[in-house]
């Protein structure tokens, strides 16, 4: 709870610091504040502590998710020191909006009331609409922002309709009460329709097929740091929210079947379309859709232990993604703003260590053994098989094999010698963050016990 208050106050403080015109104090303040919020979140852990009297619940799941999301945001802000150095105006607003968005994410992991779910999603999304348009004079950035806004509001409308229908059937917004009332009458059509609408809206937020079409465009158009934030923190929070929503009651078969179809479509389309991409950010967007498919399998299994798998998967995925987006930004600068995969060519000769870490991160996303991505995928498959989704699990293994292809394509570029190899300028902090991500994906694979 104190972490939630601290992050919302921190955002306001950052906005006021922006008035001073001194850019260099923003990132350190934000990072110190977030580390304090992380420590508060960690020490404030108390199984079943309810707040507002019963609208938020800070249990083991929300504590771990919150700490992970705060840690990823700190990594992004460390990268931000270098990233925002070239930007002249509105730097404070960027930091503040990301902190506000993080506040929404913290609510999403711990809600027990549909009102809090709604507020959490909106606090998470509204700053993102602005952030996606962060480069005001770039056409692509404003198009991404507008698309994201329109489709996001559209999803919100469905989401509200779903909540209203659920409320109409159960006369309550509290998940526990709803769960009890639905147990008594599991096949109420209005309730099913409501749960279906809410699931559609949440599928929009996590980027599941057929509600994914915004994500490649928005990922490509938004500033790289914001893209990294969307691919990591936002996705983690949306999945935590999705999981909590579906946990409220035993999933009705109609809903479970719909989600199964969405999962299979997501796995197929994400992996297959990613093979045809030549722009790195679009590749990462489709790869993120593919990972959504694997994560949906864990949500679908809907057991009490799904959350630890979700946590491990999203955290290791986020670490790898943050590292890769930093490498992309560095390579992009050397290539004059080009974002194609070919800009990685010759990376090994120019910066051997950076190329090796990039390889590790990509292998982790692909799910090769000895990286955290493998352990995460393995856990998801075991969970799905345990819940009886054997055919889906086999299909997902096959899709994971397809996925290796496009990650290896990028690795091949990095290790192909180029005619001229521009040496990338890597600031010490960026080097440290990328290396930390690389070391972490191996460390988490060797000691899964470390993260739960």
């Amino acid at each position: 709870m104190s972490a939630l208050i601290l992050t919302s106050v921190l955002g306001v403080v950052l906005l006021y610091l922006g008035l001073s015109g001194n850019k260099s104090i923003l990132a350190p303040t934000a990072i110190v504040g977030l580390v304090a919020a992380g420590v508060m979140s960690w020490t404030g852990w108390n199984p079943g502590l309810m707040e507002f009297p019963t609208m938020l619940k800070f249990d083991q799941m929300s504590t771990l998710f919150n700490c992970a999301m705060i840690a990823v945001t700190v990594l992004l802000f460390l990268f931000g020191i270098d990233y925002y150095r070239r930007m002249e105006e509105n730097v404070a607003e960027h930091y503040a909006l990301m902190v506000f968005s993080l506040t929404g994410a913290l609510i999403l992991t711990s809600y027990t009331n549909l009102l809090m779910l709604f507020l959490g999603i909106e606090i998470l999304s509204i700053p993102l609409y602005i952030l996606a348009g962060g480069k005001k004079r770039s056409y692509r950035s404003s198009e991404a922002s507008f698309k994201y806004f329109l489709l996001g509001s559209f999803a919100t409308a469905f989401f509200l309709m779903g909540i209203a229908l659920i409320y109409g059937v159960t006369a309550s917004f509290d998940l526990a009460v709803i769960g009890q009332k639905v147990q008594a009458a599991p096949n109420n059509v209005l309730f099913l329709l409501g749960a279906f609408f809410v699931s559609i809206a949440l599928s929009f937020k996590v980027g599941a097929v057929p509600f994914h079409f915004w994500s490649p465009d928005v990922y490509e158009g938004a500033p790289t740091l914001v893209t990294a934030f969307m691919a990591t923190v936002v996705k983690t929070a949306a999945f935590a929210g999705f999981y909590r929503f579906l946990q409220m009651t035993a999933m009705p078969p109609a809903l479970s079947d719909t989600l199964l179809v969405i999962t299979i479509l997501t796995l197929f389309l994400g992996n297959v379309v990613a093979m045809r991409q030549s722009q790195f950010k679009r590749l990462m967007a489709y790869s993120s859709i593919a990972h959504t498919g694997f994560l949906l399998m864990a949500v679908l299994a809907n057991s009490a232990m799904s959350w630890s798998t979700l946590f491990y998967y999203t955290f290791t995925y986020a670490l790898a993604t943050v590292g890769l987006f930093i490498v992309l930004t560095l390579a992009k600068r050397a290539a004059n703003g080009n974002e194609a995969i070919v800009i990685f060519r010759g990376l090994f000769r120019a910066n051997p260590w950076l190329a090796l870490v990039t390889m590790l991160l990509l292998l982790s996303l692909a799910g090769i053994p000895l990286t955290a991505g493998f352990v995460a995928k393995y856990q998801v498959f075991m969970l799905a098989i345990g819940a009886g989704f054997i055919k889906t699990a086999v299909f997902a293994v096959f899709m994971a094999l397809v996925g290796i292809y496009y990650y290896v394509l990028v690795i091949r570029e990095a290790f192909t010698p180029a005619e001229e190899t521009p040496v990338l300028v890597v600031s010490p902090i960026n080097w440290l963050v990328v290396s930390a991500c690389g070391v972490a994906v191996v460390a988490f694979a060797l000691w899964p016990v470390l993260v739960g």
């Binding site: 507020l119 509204i126 602005i130 509001s153 919100t156 409308a157 006369a171």
Partner: protein, 109 residues
């Protein structure tokens, strides 16, 4: 005033639900098929407000104030969302000098 209130109370719940669904569908259709972004924003507002009507009707039906409180939050959030949306729209207008949604086609792949 009293006869009006009693008359309103006699409207069955189904009528409110039907009206909400009709308004929601009109908003949905408009948001999907209109090309002018300002009209699309209005259609989104219509969808939000149809939900508000539904929530209020259910709230009165269940004699539970929760639904009406929720409506206040919905209105607040919708206002914040539209504020951001209009700002983004102005930014778009400055960049392409048009509010036609067909202009949004340069990001492709």
């Amino acid at each position: 005033m009293e006869p009006v209130v009693t008359a309103i109370r006699q409207v069955p719940l189904e009528h409110y639900v039907a009206l909400s669904f009709i308004l929601f569908s009109i908003g949905l259709t408009g948001a999907l098929f209109r090309r002018n972004t300002i009209i699309i924003l209005m259609c989104l507002e219509l969808m939000f407000n149809s939900v508000n009507l539904l929530l209020t009707a259910f709230s009165a039906h269940h004699s539970d104030p929760g639904g009406q409180v929720f409506v206040f939050f919905t209105m607040l959030v919708a206002a914040a969302e539209v504020t951001v949306g209009l700002a983004i729209l102005v930014m778009m207008k400055r960049n392409v000098d048009s509010v036609d949604i067909n202009q949004l086609n340069r990001l492709k792949g």
